[in-house]
């Protein structure tokens, strides 16, 4: 026999109280001489003895009642299946049902979805739960949600809860599952605890389990009987894994090239896959992928044109007849189309031929149409004219070989970037490193992403510079360069660079081949970004400005800098934030969900910025972030996590092998669920019978005592 609350057994010491009271009463005898002994005659003496006996009976009843109630409170249970105790006890098991609601459960085999099959399993589990037994229902996703916690089981009430359940757009986070289930089990009071995990057991979740996770399941199985109920389903699925802007400037009247990547997660070859690009829900481009082999991805370019300025919702949609899972067929992105992009180019050189300013202007306008050129305004000024410029008129400022700036200018530039604009900095012979370092460090976060040290020669003895490292980072700026032929990339040579010491917040975007010396660094400052070239924009230190790399890189940087925070797509489960430059008037920001709900989020002061943070986007689609209920919103694209798209479940053998030794039982059929539960040697709870017996003894004792006192009162009244 075991006790759920063994410490409460100390309550049995309470039995000493009535005994003590009885003994005190007995031993605290007062003596008196008495004359009228003739009235305390034999019958009175007999009566007195009867009363003593009655007292003892009352004491025994009271003690028994107390003992039984204390025993009941300790929640005793026996695992014996035979004998009186087993006969009196009732099977009492706390049941936790962990139901996978990740979007893969929406996959259909043509007749039923995995989720519907999972609900059938829940019904089968319900059959074995006795009314009143504690039940917990937890939905598994990116963030597991407990929808029913420790509820006394009521079939009707539970069915009502089940009827409201839906598959989410989330993926399954299995790592946090054992710990959560253990905590939930610990929270439940029952001699027997059963945990049923109903999931489609996707390979990518369950197969590559770490030792740590295996140990967690093993530990969980020590605290409860754990059953895994795999839900079988189809295998075919296509998913759009990516939608990226490859090239183009996001300006009104221009086109941009987006790349949509479609992956075949199934086991059959997907043929004639139709991929559509939609701008604001209107089809803008469609491509057909002839075939995608199982387990491979194919990319298509979608050319999307933007006729109007403002934020646009871009969707890449894959369609294939064999696909049975919808949520991952869409990939969403948001682009803010600008009416015009203005770039201020500040030159530190004298402005003679081949100056950096003209090279930058030429690079930014390269490849654009005449109309496009109108939409890109590049203004070059000498560095001495910088104080006279109103930076509000420009989206990006380029500082090329500017010797130094005043502290006031540094403050203006920092504020300019923090407001969400972009700054591109080029080195050169005129740059006064110590002054720049000093000015850059004036603010809390440095203006530049690195501390400038000194010039260094990177060329060899032959005077041939070193090329860029072709293994580039996944930075968006590098994307167009990746598509360049390697020989073209290797023609870009660098003879001199500034040796720099990157700050902790900076990212190396481009480095020199064969060394870790950064050519281009980037860091975020407020809502804007700063790019820092450790070389010149002119051809003094390199030949980059006269290669195709320069216009591609510069245009991509400008596009990147003029992009807005929300253009970056998020995944379901990510947090969405809305940041403010100044303290807003409204204390709350508003997020409209794709399903039309409105979520109000308070604006908080975070590192001297005002931010409204929506924790964990739960739906896939376009959210709308608004600074207030009345304000126009900025769409935010939220996509499903496509790792969940690999819907292939583990085979029976793999499952058995995978869970071998963990103590977890695999139950495949609904019919086997009850049998498995019985095999788990269900403990029989005795608390109810003990509590009832205890209360019965109390009632008997009370009635007995009442009868005695009533009789005494009657006698008293008679004698009065």
């Amino acid at each position: 026999m075991n006790f759920l609350n063994p410490l409460l057994l100390l309550g049995a010491l309470g039995i000493g109280l009535p005994i003590l009271a009885h003994m005190l009463n007995r031993f605290e005898v007062k003596h008196t001489d008495w004359a009228a002994m003739q009235f305390l005659n034999r019958s009175v003496r007999v009566r007195s003895r009867q009363l003593k006996l009655r007292d003892v009976i009352l004491l025994i009843l009271r003690c028994l009642a107390l003992l039984l109630i204390v025993a009941a409170i300790t929640r005793p249970a026996t695992k014996r299946q035979n004998g009186l105790l087993a006969g009196l006890g009732e099977k009492r098991a706390a049941v936790i049902i962990a139901l996978d609601v990740s979007f893969s459960m929406q996959h259909s085999d043509g007749t039923r979805t995995r989720f519907e099959t999972a609900l059938d399993k829940v019904d089968a589990i319900k059959e074995g739960i006795r009314p009143g037994n504690p039940v917990t229902l937890v939905l598994l996703g990116t963030e597991h949600r407990v929808v029913v916690r420790n509820m006394a089981f009521d079939p009707d009430e539970f069915d009502e809860v089940l009827a409201t359940l839906e598959v989410t757009s989330e993926s399954l986070d299995i790592d946090s599952l054992p710990r959560l289930l253990k905590a939930l089990a610990a929270d439940m009071k029952a001699p027997q605890k059963e945990i049923y995990i109903i999931t489609d057991m996707q390979e990518h979740d369950w197969k590559p389990r770490s030792t740590w996770l295996n140990d967690s399941f093993k530990d969980l199985a020590k605290h409860a009987s754990v059953f895994v109920l795999p839900v079988a389903g189809g295998t075919e699925n296509l998913t759009v894994t990516g939608l990226e802007l490859v090239s183009g400037v996001l300006r009104k009247g221009t086109s941009a090239r987006y790349r949509a990547t479609v992956r075949n997660c199934g086991v059959s070859v997907a043929q004639q896959v139709r991929v559509s690009g939609l701008v604001n829900n209107i089809s803008a481009d469609t491509k057909i992928i002839p075939s995608i082999a199982p387990g491979t991805s194919e990319s298509v370019s979608l050319f999307l044109s933007f006729s109007d300025p403002g934020p646009v919702r871009i969707v890449a949609k894959a369609e294939w007849d064999g696909d049975k899972l919808e949520p991952d067929n869409l990939r969403r992105a948001v682009a803010v189309i600008r009416d015009k992009v203005s770039v201020l180019c500040v030159e530190g050189t004298s402005g003679e031929g081949g100056s950096s300013g003209s090279l930058i202007t030429a690079a930014l306008r390269a490849g654009g149409s005449s109309k496009g050129q109108d939409d890109l305004d590049v203004e070059s000024v000498s560095w001495v004219d910088l104080p006279a410029q109103d930076l509000k008129n420009f989206d990006v400022v380029v500082l090329a070989d500017v010797p130094d700036i005043t502290a006031e200018q540094a403050g203006v530039l920092e504020r300019y970037v923090r407001d969400g604009n972009g700054l591109i900095w080029f080195g050169g012979d005129y740059v006064k490193a110590d002054v720049w370092n000093k000015r850059s460090a004036l603010a809390g976060t440095p203006l530049l992403p690195a501390v400038i040290e000194e010039q260094m020669r990177t060329g060899d003895a032959m005077g041939i510079g070193r090329p860029l490292d072709p293994s580039m980072t996944d930075h968006p700026v590098c994307r167009p360069l990746r598509s360049l032929p390697e020989d073209l990339l290797s023609e870009t040579r660098f003879l001199t660079l500034l040796r720099v010491k990157p700050t902790s917040s900076s990212v190396k975007v481009l480095t020199l081949a064969g060394s870790d010396a950064p050519v281009l660094l980037e860091h975020a400052l407020g809502r804007g970004h700063v790019f820092m070239f450790t070389t010149t924009a002119g051809s003094d230190w390199n030949n980059m400005a006269v290669t195709p790399v320069f216009p591609m890189l510069l245009q991509q940087i400008v596009t990147y800098l003029t992009a807005r925070e929300f253009e970056t797509p998020r995944l379901v489960g990510d947090s969405l934030s809305l940041s403010y430059v100044d303290q807003p008037d409204a204390t709350d920001a508003v997020f409209d969900t794709p399903s039309g709900d409105v979520i109000t989020v308070p604006v908080r002061d975070y590192r001297s910025q005002y931010v409204a943070l929506l924790n964990g986007a739960r739906e896939a689609g376009f959210y709308l972030a608004r600074v207030s209920l009345q304000a126009a919103g900025m769409p935010v694209a939220v996509n499903v996590d496509t790792k969940e798209s690999t819907i292939k479940g583990m085979s029976a053998e793999d499952t058995a092998r995978s869970l071998d030794g963990t103590g977890v039982t695999i139950v495949r059929s609904n019919e086997a669920i009850l049998a498995a539960s019985e095999e788990a040697s269900p403990a029989r709870s005795l608390w109810r019978i003990l509590m009832m017996a205890g209360l019965a003894f109390f009632v008997i004792e009370s009635i007995f005592a009442e009868m005695i006192s009533a009789r005494a009162a009657k006698g008293k009244a008679a004698s009065a």
Partner: protein, 309 residues
């Protein structure tokens, strides 16, 4: 005599002050005893005119008041009242059971005060008073005397009483009855904690000898109400077997037994023409005596003399 009184233990001057008013009442009681159903058992030495009554055949000729006849031509006889030469004998039960008292004064002490007070009142009326003390046997017999000096003797005797367990009451009452030479007014002060039949046998003897008997049944309030709470051990004063019990719970039985006993005793007294009064020792002595005399007077004015509570 007042000087004596201050030296006497059982005659509290303050109490006597209160009892002063009782003198007349007491006298009336005594007279009532003579003319009422309890006629004075002794012939008086002198006569005192009381009132006239119209002559009726059979009346003694010598009692006709000739002076009245001379004035009115009618025969009236003179009626005289004899002044009693009254003997009062107070019997005190000094058995061990009388030593019980829940308050400051036990039953015996109370009985002593009661006896002394009564003796004083009788002496004040120029009547004779005697005292007997008994327990398992008659310890003291003091024949009635009318000299005031006897009060000192009575006080000394009362002081010397040592409670002793008794066996019966009847035997002692028989013995006392044999010692009493003249018919007297016998006042028995006792808790009468014995067999009712035994008690009645003793009392009957006194009655049969022509004594006028009054029983002052002294009981402690605790004996009447049995108000004990908790667990008590009762040690018998008359060497009975002790009893440990929770009195609250046997009170019902105790009270039933007590009532049965009192009823039997009272009925016996009524049957034997004996005055009976229960005296609660928690009550002030003057109040008890006052009430006793008032009841006696009421009885004399009309009702038959009988046992009263």
């Amino acid at each position: 005599m007042t000087d004596h009184i201050t030296q006497i233990n059982y005659l509290d001057p303050e109490l006597l002050q209160k009892l002063g008013d009782l003198e007349l009442v007491a006298r009336e009681v005594v007279e009532g005893l003579r003319v009422g159903s309890h006629r004075s058992p002794l012939r008086g030495f002198s006569t005192e005119f009381a009132h006239h009554r119209q002559y009726a055949p059979g009346d003694a000729i010598r009692d006709i008041d000739w002076r009245v006849y001379g004035r009115t031509d009618r025969y009236y006889t003179k009626l005289y009242e004899a002044e009693t030469n009254f003997d009062c004998h107070v019997l005190i039960d000094a058995s061990a059971s009388m030593s019980y008292g829940s308050g400051k004064v036990n039953k015996l002490e109370y009985a002593k005060f009661l006896a002394a007070s009564l003796a004083y009142l009788v002496l004040k009326q120029r009547d004779s008073v005697g005292l007997s003390v008994f327990d398992s046997e008659v310890r003291t017999y003091m024949p009635p005397r009318s000299a005031m000096g006897i009060i000192v003797e009575i006080d000394r005797t009362l002081r010397e009483i040592i409670p002793t367990p008794k066996t019966t009451v009847a035997k002692q009452l028989h013995d006392i009855a044999l010692m009493m030479k003249r018919r007297s007014f016998v006042i028995l002060i006792s808790d009468l904690l014995a067999d009712v039949e035994d008690i009645m046998a003793g009392l009957d003897h006194l009655r049969f000898d022509g004594h006028n008997v009054v029983v002052l049944h002294t009981l402690d309030p605790y004996e009447l109400e049995f108000p004990f709470k908790g667990t008590w051990r009762f040690e018998g004063l008359e060497r009975e077997e002790p009893l440990t019990t929770q009195p609250e719970r046997i009170r019902e039985d105790y009270v039933t037994n007590l009532d049965k006993y009192l009823t039997a005793l009272r009925s016996g007294c009524i049957g034997a023409n004996i005055d009976y009064k229960t005296v609660d020792t928690s009550r002030p002595l003057d109040g008890v005596l006052n009430e006793f005399f008032a009841e006696r007077a009421t009885t004399l004015n009309g009702g038959a003399v009988g046992a009263r509570q």
